[in-house]
Subunit: 431 residues, 2 copies
Amino acid sequence: MVFVSSIRRAIQQRSRLFLPTPVHLPRESKSNSQSLLQEAAIVHSVEHGFPQLLPLGVRVLTKLKKVIRFEMNAVGGQELSLPAIGRRNMWEASDRWNLMHNELFKFKDHNEEYCLSPTHEEAITKLVSSVCKSVARSNYPLLLYQITWKYRNEPNYRHGLLRTKEFLMKDLYSFHRSEECAQQVYEQVCDAYERIFQKLELKCFKVPADSGLMGGSLNHEFLGISPVGEDTVLTCSTCGRGSLTNKPQCEHTEKVEQRAIELGHCFLLGDRYTKAFDAIEGSSDVTEDKKPLIMGCYGIGLTRLMAAAVEILTPRGSSDIRWPRRIVPYQVAILPPKKGSPEEANGNKQTLGRLLQLDNNEWFVDDRTELTIGYRLKDCQKMGVPIVITFGKRATKQNLCEVIDVYNNRTEYLSYEDTLKFIQDYYSVFC
Amino acid sequence: MVFVSSIRRAIQQRSRLFLPTPVHLPRESKSNSQSLLQEAAIVHSVEHGFPQLLPLGVRVLTKLKKVIRFEMNAVGGQELSLPAIGRRNMWEASDRWNLMHNELFKFKDHNEEYCLSPTHEEAITKLVSSVCKSVARSNYPLLLYQITWKYRNEPNYRHGLLRTKEFLMKDLYSFHRSEECAQQVYEQVCDAYERIFQKLELKCFKVPADSGLMGGSLNHEFLGISPVGEDTVLTCSTCGRGSLTNKPQCEHTEKVEQRAIELGHCFLLGDRYTKAFDAIEGSSDVTEDKKPLIMGCYGIGLTRLMAAAVEILTPRGSSDIRWPRRIVPYQVAILPPKKGSPEEANGNKQTLGRLLQLDNNEWFVDDRTELTIGYRLKDCQKMGVPIVITFGKRATKQNLCEVIDVYNNRTEYLSYEDTLKFIQDYYSVFC
């Protein structure tokens, strides 16, 4: 253990990380992500549709939240937090207590009936309604969002995180004094969604869709191609657009039919909810007739997106997760030589020591030096670590670091300084 | 608006922030924090025991999470995420399905019975039990925590965020191969708790307490003095220790009785849960008799702590929130001169322009220049902004910034450079 004696608290040790050997492995799942995420100890299980995320999974979600918050704040979104529990009379005001009956988990306490909210149009509109008389014009367009766990009584839960009863969702709601402004913000949020999926290296199709129980005049789904998806998308070989089978977007005839996963959904809701809750443009500086505000809502399921990204990016048949690089659990792993190997005895010590001194939350050292480099490298690949630094024969001889760019299947032999530069360049793109 | 024309996206504008005039103000609440938090638009309401947090409240919670995560990680905690919904058979294994019947929100779907979890001893022990055979020795002591919303069917919800049906809680669980190790970690986590409260500028008393339905051999509450608290603490004038009335900690006789709020609670649980779920020290490198693991659990309610801090730090009768400085919604507010005032016309422009160019998420500019400086300053004080930078007559004349240290009721006249230095010094302590 000579190599790891200088490890600072800041660098995390693989031997201390809670990465238990998986249990409850799904049998013959059609979903690639479900088994990959469980085998790499990202997710413990999604038994009965309720996800249990292990520490690596929480790291992924934390980064995904950051990517999404950045774009929501950039379009003027302000984050708040509404309760998961909603009262019956609120859900009756929009008639969804009945309309969504089968999807709602309902229960009572001593006096009242409640449900667990799968979405928050009612709660946010009620909130805005209660204060709209004092909201100044300068507050419009008003964009409010939250990232919270939602609940749906989903009998068809399946494919691990792709369809669950409990799921983490970002839901943004926008309120407007005019249809025109609502349209404009709708486009801006759709653009923000495209930037999010682009940052996550996911090709996606924006397609007009059905509004279902949500209501409203206009809505788009964002779809990512995957055989495990539950939607069918037609992609046009001529203009490249995608569409749902019943909603063609172009006149061309040559189209490819593929399965796709819904990654996000935007709705222009009109006054469906603002009318029900009497949310009007009521600020005292408005003297005209007071009309219901125009509303939009925009959702991304984070737990689903995390699994969908793995589903889409990981080649079929591969047992190594391929992440969007912005949300990998760790960016860099350092593998010191095996205990008793010639590489341990000869050199490296100083370079390795310097690497391990770096105060970096994105690196870990696989200090299980009783295992071969090869075994530990495979382990890193399984969980999708994009950069692995190790010290094989050649690197040791030349006093260099062996820097493995896992996703591009490329190895470089670099000095300590060039290794840092390599990683800095990588970070400037993906962190 | 000449002064605010150069505002970059990075600096947030008061006129755009969602700070609605409060509604649902509590009538004759004994709780100081409840009305203060609602009046400053930190919390929208806690109607029926379900908190609705406005954007400023989410900012406070985000910072509070950061303080707590730092200390949990420092003692070796790893963050995971368990579902809020728990199945009946799991809760029956510990007998708490019945024991906690009155506190649990219970419901059914098509096949099963569930509850909303107020705490996760069952879920975490079941998880550890399912993998303990493959957990290596190097993983112990195993410390796992989460920061998630919890649910309790609380008929006596009251005092705003202090006692709610839905609350955000950090719950840490520790698993040990020996009683001795459990004791040691118990002390370390208690110390981490004291550091957390110290960072939050809260004087607290660590007192032995009753274990209630949690079980276990040893436990301590962390109490903060406040008339709205539901515990009674005796503080000893001689040795300074605190104790609950039925659990004296010293032999001295001169004691002061005060009301106190529970800020945190630590339990050494022994094998109460690990026995029920068969969580044993089962790694293959252990050959001795396999015993149930020894367990500890440690909770801090974040929504309660946020309100308790306001309750404790804000002087009675004051209408200005006093926050722990690490968790204020914004650290700095900039107030440009009133429109049409001599201060607007004369100078300041360049200094103000430079301040507004600073890319800082912790500052906002109160751009409502139709209002007087005095009015806007009062508004900042109400929400507890610790540093306000403005430009009165004297500052304008001398081409300086007027830097108001709100919490210390002190004003300094500083050059642009010294203003930045002042804030940097402040940050080095509190950010």
